[in-house]
């Protein structure tokens, strides 16, 4: 994780080097929706789910072939999460933040539209160590894909709208200690809008 962050910093710092002209940067704000973190059955079904999460995305990429780029993308989200029992009550469980870093490739689809696919790590940072996070947050492998649409608005700047889909398997140390086995498939969809600079 530390190495990936270092790589990201170095990539961004590369703007001052000879690579400056080739590095593509982007930043965006949006929201992330996620499927349930956990489904349990205690008399009735219980679901733990994050609320719609405000999202910040930062990325940098370098060309690796005439049409393709490789880059890192950092995504941060923060939202409440809650448990909901079928036919019962909904309980707010606090706030959980996530940070993910993915190494990805992107390529062209058509004019202004590019695909992106990548893999990386996702970390959950709960505001309180209780419940499913009693033994702290968790780091999971993440894979995903998405589509970017860019439209020039200034000489160096593009307006960039992105749609991302990613998935990971969720569990925590506390759930494992409670004899939950395997893990829960979690899928997320993020929509962001922002600015990109560098690529033409």
């Amino acid at each position: 994780m530390r190495a990936i962050l270092l790589l990201l910093v170095l990539t961004l710092a590369g703007g001052a080097s000879a690579l400056h002209a080739q590095v593509d940067y982007h930043a965006g704000l949006g929201v992330t929706w996620a499927t349930a973190l956990l489904r349990d059955d205690v008399i009735n079904e219980i679901e733990v789910r994050q609320k719609l999460a405000p999202t910040l995305v930062l990325g940098a990429a370098l060309p690796i072939a005439p049409l393709y780029h490789a880059g890192l993308e950092l995504a941060l989200t923060t939202s409440g999460y809650q448990s909901k029992e079928t036919g019962g009550t909904t309980v707010d469980l606090g706030t959980v933040r996530t940070s993910s870093i993915t190494l990805g490739l992107d390529g062209p689809v058509s004019q202004g539209l590019r695909w992106r696919a990548g893999a990386g790590l996702l970390r959950y940072w709960p505001s309180e160590e209780r419940g499913i996070f009693l033994r702290g947050g968790t780091t999971r492998f993440l894979a995903g894909a998405g589509i970017d649409y860019r439209r020039p608005i200034l000489a160096q700047w593009d307006l960039m709208a992105s749609l991302r889909y990613d998935f990971h398997r969720f569990t925590t140390d506390e759930l494992e200690a409670r004899a939950f086995s395997q893990s829960q498939g979690v899928q997320r969809i993020a929509a962001t809008i922002g600015l990109a600079r560098g690529r033409r």
Partner: protein, 224 residues
């Protein structure tokens, strides 16, 4: 295959396969290990089942502890154990300094006569201390009148060996009764066994507490 399809192929391969794998749910543990927590009482019309859990509207449950015999520390420790038993915010508690607003009052001493004693812990395997939890019901027999009173008392000089440890585990045990576990576990490995010797909640204790908090209670609690 068109050039556009060829361009999208890597994306579909990367996303499609793992996406299918990501659909499966986590495998949940069985709660069948739980013991009976409800109390069956005889009434004029036949047996009645008494069960209770603190409703969400009353959380956090306010607990007051008498400042003697290390009781505040034992209560804090015991509440921490029970808070940690729940995964989905079913129970939360807070220690308060004003007994007049407390939902649960923990004191040193032997439980007096009166009220409806749901549980009375008589410890034989650990003879250093004893505990009891008194829950008073209204005339209808289906509403608890707060506060729930917990009594923990040393049988010997408090500084005697083993007394403080006994007070700690007995306090946690009695707090379990105040949460709604009105019966004792038949298993000696559980903290809610009648004569507990273990110091922490067992998986059975936790499963029982979880079931109690996801089962419709027959008792309500009056406003404080």
């Amino acid at each position: 295959m068109s050039p556009r399809s060829r361009r999208l192929l890597p994306l579909l391969c990367l996303a499609g396969g793992p996406a299918l794998l990501s659909c499966a749910d986590i495998a949940t543990p069985s709660r069948t290990i739980a013991y009976e927590w409800r109390r069956i009482v005889a009434t004029a019309t036949g047996p009645d089942t008494l069960s209770f859990h603190w409703p969400q509207s009353r959380l956090p449950v306010r607990v007051w502890a008498e400042d003697t015999l290390n009781l505040p520390a034992h209560v804090q420790h015991g509440l921490g154990r029970w808070d940690a038993a729940f995964l989905y915010g079913e129970f939360r508690s807070v220690v308060v300094s004003d007994s007049s607003v407390a939902d649960v009052i923990v004191t040193s001493g032997i439980a007096p006569k009166g009220g409806f004693s749901v549980t009375r812990l008589e410890s034989f395997m650990a003879p250093e201390c004893q505990g009891a939890t008194d829950i008073e019901l209204d005339a209808s027999g289906h509403q608890i009148l707060p506060p729930i009173r917990v009594y923990v008392d040393p049988r010997f000089e408090p500084s005697s060996p083993g007394v403080d440890a006994c007070m700690a585990l007995t306090t946690t045990h009695e707090l379990g009764h105040s949460l709604g576990i009105f019966n004792h576990s038949p298993n000696s490995d559980d903290l809610m066994f009648a004569d507990p010797t273990v110091t922490d909640l067992s998986p059975r204790d936790r499963a029982t507490a979880e079931l109690a908090y996801h089962t419709e209670p027959t008792l309500t609690i009056a406003p404080r």
